[in-house]
């Protein structure tokens, strides 16, 4: 008998999501309650600069002699809320713009397509670096800029999906019955865009984590003395070979955080895609 196929990949997605959730839970268990769990005040100068791991601090001390473990606990919150905020902002704005332009067609649509090309051509990091060096490091500004960097991608996706939906007969029927554009967009188009947007949200969250920590790494992220994983890497990078934990710990946390969100996003995306097929 020919072409026998082994188990379909349904269980792989559950496993993937479970693995992702476990990772994310571990990271959040450190990041969310962190600030209150920290044994020492993250900014307190207690040990010797680059002090090795010892009794007081099981990960050792950073370049000023602050406890690495306490800073790690306190440092997760900022990157967590900022990456989620940036992704949600980009998602909302991008979906709205993409949907409207695909529905309206005509000059508006061409304008939007062209401007997304411009934004895509513009190396996003330049935009962020320039503006941050101009207006300083306010967290809300960084979130806004990261969102803008993701905007073209979301616009392109939502526009593509909306184009597909708008061709459907149930949208024609709504138009014929004289439903308002707002009604059509909100009740007919948007509900059918949820799945691709959810998947894009997961992917964007991972990019946001990478970008935010990259910015801090280059020195344009959250301002000191705040405890932030990206900043910890930047501050202690010179002493990488003297006290590796000061850099390795935050790097590991960021990597696990990104991996967790990614696994979950991939899993949800694949399951939804299959539900979509069966609908």
């Amino acid at each position: 008998m020919t072409s026998r196929r082994r188990r379909p990949n349904r269980w792989r997605n559950e496993r993937q999501i479970r693995a992702g959730t476990v990772l994310l839970a571990a990271v959040l268990a450190i990041a969310l309650p962190g600030p209150w769990l920290a044994p020492h005040d993250p900014n307190a100068l207690i040990g010797a600069p680059y002090g090795p791991p010892g009794a007081g601090a099981w990960l050792g001390y950073d370049y000023l002699g602050r406890d690495i473990w306490s800073r790690l606990l306190a440092g997760g919150l900022s990157i967590f809320w900022m990456s989620i905020a940036a992704s949600i902002l980009a998602l909302a704005a991008g979906a709205a713009i993409g949907m409207l332009s695909a529905y309206r067609k005509g000059a508006v649509d061409q304008g939007v397509v062209w401007s997304t090309d411009v934004l895509f051509a513009f190396p996003d990091l330049i935009l962020v670096l320039l503006v941050v060096s101009m207006l300083g490091r306010a967290p809300w500004l960084i979130v806004l800029l990261v969102a803008i960097a993701f905007l073209p991608g979301v616009i392109r996706l939502s526009r593509g999906v909306t184009l597909g939906i708008v061709e459907q007969e149930y949208v024609d029927s709504a138009r014929m019955m004289g439903f308002s554009s707002a009604h059509i967009l909100l009740r007919e188009v948007l509900p059918n865009m949820i799945t691709p947007l959810l998947v894009q949200f997961g992917v964007m969250l991972t990019w946001a984590i990478g970008m935010l920590s990259g910015l801090s790494f280059l020195g344009y992220g959250v301002a000191p003395p705040a405890a932030d994983w990206g900043l910890m890497i930047n501050e202690n990078r010179a002493g990488l070979l003297v006290q590796p934990w000061a850099v390795l710990a935050p790097v590991a946390m960021i990597a696990l955080f990104a991996l967790g969100t990614n696994l979950i996003a991939e899993g949800i995306g694949r399951i939804n895609a299959r539900i979509e097929e069966e609908a």
């Binding site: 008998m1 026998r4 196929r5 149930y170 024609d172 138009r175 019955m177 009740r187 509900p191």
Partner: protein
């Protein structure tokens, strides 16, 4: 049964779903003599395509051939090694796919595909001989074989030409058996007739056996020697084609024939309630029992075996109708338009453009109230553009439209909300007609509250009434469209239209995507609605359906009205040559014989 050794012998063939093991197709046994054409008829979900592939030993992803044998010229395809089976495909048994546009490799030129098949199967042929064989194969199917044509890509051919290329690919190796999987479904009526002639001629001349698979009995009736009816993965009935049409033994076959409209006479259609169970959800005992009026406890308990009925015929039913021939009741003829009453809807001077070229040329006609006016035309005749313009869509459209005396904007030009209510539109593809994310109730309630200032409670009540009116169970209200069959979704669409209490209902090819039995049910519903006072504008290419439902016919060709008049008059005594051609191609020879 011709005495020569049989070309194809299938015994107890069974194909299951890969992970869950539920049978898609089971207990299939057939024999085919050389030159004989067997029609294999089955509605969607019956497993006919799976069977077609299994005859060549191929199982799509997610399916597995788990039993039986397929002997072609004595060789069991299923028992061969992969290499031998690959060699047998094409040389011993060939396959012609359904949708020509999707079945040809878009990057391969026509000549390339043909010579590739020869290069694989007939390595010994020198290039010159191979080129000659390719040219001959194209000539056999009536296609030009000049170098320019050979260098063409599939997208540069018409639908008919593409299907002929596929036929050439099947015929080129002179196989003993050909399996044709609904080769003409994607074609218009005229091309369909040409392709069928081609197949009939080839099988007769080359003595090649053919299995012709279709969901449409009328197409099969005209071509095949013997017909087999497939229901829920099992053979319901196998008999000589003339016998099966005259004296169907299995209730399902009888139901199918009863639901089949014919161009020749206005039949009163009888439809089969419910819909066919998909693989994995099939009940115990006879799969047709839930829908069969004659079902008994025996039917519901044990699976009927395929047993020999009258000589040469087989039927799988505990209570076959052996003696009673099929009678087709004739419905009352189309009612002529009463001269005195003014037309409900009149259109004049309608022009429409698609990009730079014009599609409709100064179209004008009027629609009588409480009547069904059919707009008939082949693909590309502009009938859908016209329908959408009346319904309220389409930007590049100009012309006047008057309903009940009040002028109304044509195309997407603005219309008052009440005017929009009075004309409603049903779309062709039921699977895209309802918002998949909302359940049926929400879909309907939204429409009611859009047109009428009523409370949600009152709107839901009206929705329930509308669902009942289109003969759907109330349980449908809370289900998402994804869980409904094509027929059910189309009825929900009709219910949605009825909720607006329209005066005119425009139906754009609403039954072409449905199986015959489901189509009959929908047409039945429409006729009941017409009787209750609804005016219907039915757009279709299928003259048989027009014969069933229409009172008045408008024939459209390349954007112009070539003929219009009272339905039966136009169909019985067509004035325009194009109409005559359409009718001839739609009506099958056998059916004509039946009628006489």
């Amino acid at each position: 049964m011709p005495a020569a050794s049989p070309a194809l012998v299938v015994r107890d063939l069974r194909v299951d779903l890969a992970p869950r093991g539920a049978p898609i197709v089971a207990d299939i046994s057939l024999t085919l003599a050389p030159g004989e054409i067997l029609g294999l008829v089955g509605e969607s979900g019956s497993g006919k395509t799976t069977l077609a592939n299994a005859l060549l030993g191929y199982a799509r992803r997610g399916t597995r051939i788990t039993g039986g044998s397929v002997l072609v010229d004595g060789q069991d395809i299923l028992a061969l090694t992969d290499g031998e089976r690959r060699a047998a495909r094409g040389r011993l048994i060939a396959h012609v796919p359904q949708d020509p546009a999707m079945a040809l490799n878009p990057l391969a030129r026509i000549g390339g595909s043909l010579s590739e098949t020869l290069a694989i199967h007939r390595r010994e042929l020198p290039p010159a001989a191979r080129a000659a064989a390719v040219a001959a194969a194209l000539a056999d199917v009536g296609l030009p074989n000049d170098p320019a044509f050979l260098r063409r890509y599939p997208h540069q051919l018409s639908g008919g030409q593409q299907q002929r290329v596929l036929l050439a690919l099947a015929f080129i190796l002179r196989p003993r058996v050909i399996v044709l999987d609904e080769p003409t479904t994607a074609l218009d009526v005229i091309t369909q007739a040409q392709v069928l002639d081609l197949i009939r001629g080839y099988c007769r001349e080359q003595g090649v056996a053919a299995v012709y698979i279709s969901h449409d009995l009328s197409v099969v009736q005209d071509l095949v020697d013997r017909a087999a009816v497939l229901y829920a993965g099992r053979l319901a009935e196998v008999a000589d084609s003339r016998a099966i049409f005259a004296q169907p033994m299995h209730p399902y076959t009888r139901g199918l024939l009863g639901a089949m409209p014919g161009v020749d006479r206005r039949h009163a259609l009888s439809h089969i309630p419910g819909h066919a169970p998909s693989p994995g959800q099939r009940p115990d005992g006879c799969a047709f029992a839930p829908r069969c009026a004659r079902a008994t406890d025996l039917c519901r308990a044990t699976e009927p075996r395929l047993t020999e009925g009258v000589s040469g015929t087989f039927v799988a039913c505990h209570h076959p109708l052996l003696q009673t021939p099929l009678e087709r009741r004739t419905a009352q003829p189309s009612t002529p338009a009463p001269a005195d009453r003014p037309a409900l809807l009149t259109a004049a001077g309608i022009d429409a453009y698609y990009g730079a070229n014009q599609v409709l040329f100064d179209v004008g006609f009027s629609v009588q109230a409480r009547q069904c006016t059919a707009i008939v035309g082949q693909s590309g005749s502009g009938k859908t553009t016209l329908a959408r313009a009346l319904g309220g869509l389409g930007s590049a459209v100009t012309g006047e439209l008057v309903i009940g005396g009040t002028p109304i904007g044509i195309g997407s030009s603005p219309r008052a909300r009440d005017l929009r209510r009075r004309i409603q539109y049903i779309f062709q593809n039921p699977f895209r007609a309802l918002n998949p994310r909302q359940n049926v109730a929400d879909n309907l309630v939204a429409v009611v509250r859009h047109f009428f200032p009523v409370s949600a409670q009152e709107a839901r009540e009206r929705a329930r009434a509308a669902i009942a009116r289109v003969a759907l169970p109330a349980t449908v209200l809370d289900r998402r469209p994804g869980k409904l069959s094509g027929g059910e979704r189309q009825r929900v669409a009709i219910a949605r239209a009825l909720l607006c209490e329209p005066e005119v209902l425009i139906c754009d090819e609403i039954t072409s995507a449905l199986d015959v039995s489901v189509q009959a049910a929908v047409l039945d519903l429409l006729m009941r609605l017409k009787a209750e006072g609804l005016t219907i504008l039915f757009v279709t290419h299928d003259l048989a359906v027009v014969r069933v439902i229409a009172d008045h016919i408008i024939v459209l060709k390349d954007g112009r009205i070539v003929e219009q008049g009272e339905a039966d008059a136009v169909l019985d005594r067509p004035a325009h040559a194009y109409t005559r051609r359409l009718i001839a191609d739609s009506a099958s020879a056998a059916e004509l014989a039946l009628a006489s």
